[in-house]
Amino acid sequence: MLAMDYRGPKRVRAVQKPMPEIKHPEDAIVKVTRSCICGSDLHLYNGNVPDTRVGTTFGHEFIGEVVEVGSEVTKLKVGDMVLVPFNIACGRCSFCQQGLFGNCHESNPMATAVGGIFGYSHTAGGFHGGQAEYVRVPYANFGPTVIPEGMDPDDAVLLTDVVPTGYQAAEMAGIQPGDTVVVFGAGPVGIMAARCAWLFGAGRVIVLDHVDYRLEFVKHYAPAEVYNFKTDMQDPVLFLKKQTDWLGADCVIDAVGAEAAGDVLQTITGRKLLVQAGSATAVHWAINSVKKGGIVSIVGVYGPTDNLVPIGNVLNKGLTLRANQASVKRLLPRLIEHVQNGVIRPKELITHRIPLEEVADGYRLFSDKLDNCIKPVLVMDSAR
């Protein structure tokens, strides 16, 4: 089968690999029809996640058809069309029992801090991902969700990650009616977070990025007030203080993560020298621009070691930090409803359809933000 293949920082290709096999009685094999490239994949692509091994296949946002099931799979059958949450969750451990499906303890032996994630390095369990024609899906009784009748596959594929992550970012921000919400990052996740902030009753939504075409998109899509932190201001924190009666925003969301731009020191130490676990510019700005007693919600992903963040300000300002990998399975029922009712329109984010053979060009387009790319989806030969 054809699959994406990681060769080293900023080097990927599509090659023939052996078909995945059932390794556990609750496994299923899914024939992938659509698979996205995510901002999280860029951390792997840039070589910033420890234990990213050459020869692995990335991809954690995919949908497809069940073609084989293990002996203990009862809730799915061959032929079902499923959307597969990006987290691998058993549904039974203490964490899954309480709804923390992004923090399962039975899906990743390699790191206790991280739950299993498809195609996301050995630090997240060493699973081959879904940027391939076929993929092994563990815990098939629990994770995969049959795509509701009539749902557009482009909407379905974004329900595996982008929609739940944006929604949970807003949820964790603890937005109260009328609150001013600032979102750092106008990538797919930030765009969705800005949209969802309104669903929780925000009074004002402000988005910062330095890529104009993305700001232009979120301005209408969310909608939101948008600013370019490179051209509209010198210091984003001071700018936001002025925008908010000098007190700061009630809630601030970091939808950027380790690849953040905007601060030379952070960029050099976090992205070039790797002496910290990615550039912490966005979380730094978030802590400093939120109101005293406010909430910072972090969905931007950082590596497993340390980051330069002003923790003293968290203390002195009495802040609450909330963060997690999105618990996709927990949020799906509500979000499927929102998509079906047209409250959230995910597929409008998709700007590029790329054949799996050209996966390297897809990564480059998305990573360098070429051709006004917001969300690229890899479309498999069989699904075209």
Partner: protein, 179 residues
């Protein structure tokens, strides 16, 4: 299961200010039961057999019930990874060698390609076809900068630096460098 060394009920004032609503995990932990207080006691799913070498964090006693079997540790990078996994996730000794192993693994990947008779198509793998189409100036500048740095390095090594090295490494020069 974890042991309670002190019986909480024997402590004066125990629980008098307990407030179930003081819960910043809501609604992220919607079915809060505190079941994890009972320790690692849940009924585990069937254990996946390990048919390849799987390194596991020493912060857990076992392999998780399922795991990925992509790219088992091999070669020099595999040796470094095995060493890294002797340390807990709390230690730099765990993470920094893993980053080193990743870099070593890249070189191993190129050697493997060549051993299989194909030289990796770096232009294609880097997605430069997309850059050529949508960001030609950027690509040309990037490649020019790379060539300038690489060229400068070669000149520096072969001229001035070369002389210095020649003095220090007189005996090895013949063996390793072609003039």
């Amino acid at each position: 299961m974890q042991k309670h060394v002190i019986d909480p009920k024997s402590v004066p004032g125990w629980g008098i200010d307990a407030d179930p609503q003081n819960d910043p995990t809501y609604p992220m932990k919607p079915n809060r039961t505190d079941v994890e207080q009972q320790g690692y006691t849940w009924e585990r799913p069937t254990q996946q057999p390990a048919d390849v070498e799987v390194l596991h964090s020493i912060e857990r006693p076992n392999l998780s019930a399922v795991f990925g079997t992509a790219s088992p540790p091999v070669g020099l990078s595999g040796m470094i990874r095995r060493w890294a996994f002797r340390w807990s996730e709390n230690e730099y000794n765990h993470w920094l060698p893993l980053i080193l192993a990743d870099r070593v693994n890249v070189v191993e990947g190129i050697i493997e390609d060549i051993a299989h008779g194909k030289f990796p198509n770096i232009w294609k793998e880097k997605g430069y076809n997309a850059s050529w189409k949508h960001d030609r100036t950027g690509l040309v500048l990037r490649l020019a900068a790379f060539t300038a740095v690489a060229g400068g390095l070669v000149l520096w090594l072969s001229a001035d630096g070369g002389k210095k090295k020649a003095k220090r490494q007189k005996h090895y020069r013949g063996a390793y460098y072609e003039e």
